[in-house]
Assembly symmetry: C2
Homo-oligomer: 192 residues x 2
Amino acid sequence: MKALSRKEEIISTASHLFKEKGYNAVTMRDIAEAMGMKAASLYNHISSKQEILATLILEVANEFTRGMNAVISDVSSPLEKIQTIIEMHIDITVNYSEGLAALNNDWMHLENDHLKAFVKMRTDYEENFRTIIKQGIDSGEIHARHPEVILFSILSTLRTLYVWYQKRGKLDVNVLKKDMVAVFLNGIVNKH
Amino acid sequence: MKALSRKEEIISTASHLFKEKGYNAVTMRDIAEAMGMKAASLYNHISSKQEILATLILEVANEFTRGMNAVISDVSSPLEKIQTIIEMHIDITVNYSEGLAALNNDWMHLENDHLKAFVKMRTDYEENFRTIIKQGIDSGEIHARHPEVILFSILSTLRTLYVWYQKRGKLDVNVLKKDMVAVFLNGIVNKH
DNA sequence: GTCTATAGGATGATAGAC
DNA sequence: GTCTATCATCCTATAGAC
């Protein structure tokens, strides 16, 4: 467990507050107070409030991009790829839950190049996922339903998992992965 | 199509802006400008920014509560009830998409009694849904998986449907209902 | 590296003329 | 019912002392 630099402490503190109230409702004074210092002192470690947001969001977005690239270059069936993506999302949720909240709720408050970079990463990610689903439908592994409905159902669940994961007393990660994969792959109806 | 009162126009205009940027990032001047008037004039029709938010969110929350009460008092199986809930969510998404955005993203900016009322409605709603899922598991209709995983997967998808519904060129509502119900009930794997 | 002081501007809301 | 003018407060960020 490496000690956090002062800058990392600030970003971590801010991320907790952003998760509760959102980027715009959190002031530099709030962040400073939570760290036991004055707002002006924050600027010795970070250059702006925007920098905090961008650092937080782009770190997680990069994590997703890395994960998706690994899945794509993997030699496995579309169904196996989808399972791996679900598991990857759950891992990221557990490890970056505050950053994920900012990514979900406050990405539109990114500015200029940060915003552009984020939107591109998200678009690419969705496009890759969509392609995998279509391949599964073409090969007959996946039911021939509207691919957007499948893409959206899985993605929206995974994206908001962070809200629920901490609320429900930290269910074991492996149980969560197993059940989540099962819900999407096999549905909830018991046919036996 | 009844003509909107000035107050309703303001709330409708505000809801569009809230959906794009969030409650805190939208100013009274933004709302006024979008209506072609000055910020001070808004106060002839509404008493505060908070009133706009509360009106918007509580209208949708009431809609969900009404729908859930109808489902509960229905004589039908747990699986049929879940199907009805999914269809109800889709109907509300189509008819109240702006209010739904505020409910999802800005409920924490409600104050005092409005906040209390909202949280109670949401808790009751989730508890009712959870009970239905458990009844389905007990009766053997639903796979014996962690009920929270099922509850969460369905709810998070339905709650964020509004983001996606308008982005994807308004897929036919009946196709959407059919495919969405199928994804959750039967999964995506084709077993034939 | 933290502080006080403050610049410079935005914000929600009110008062009062028309 | 809309306007202009304005209040009181809050906001991000900077300057400069210690």
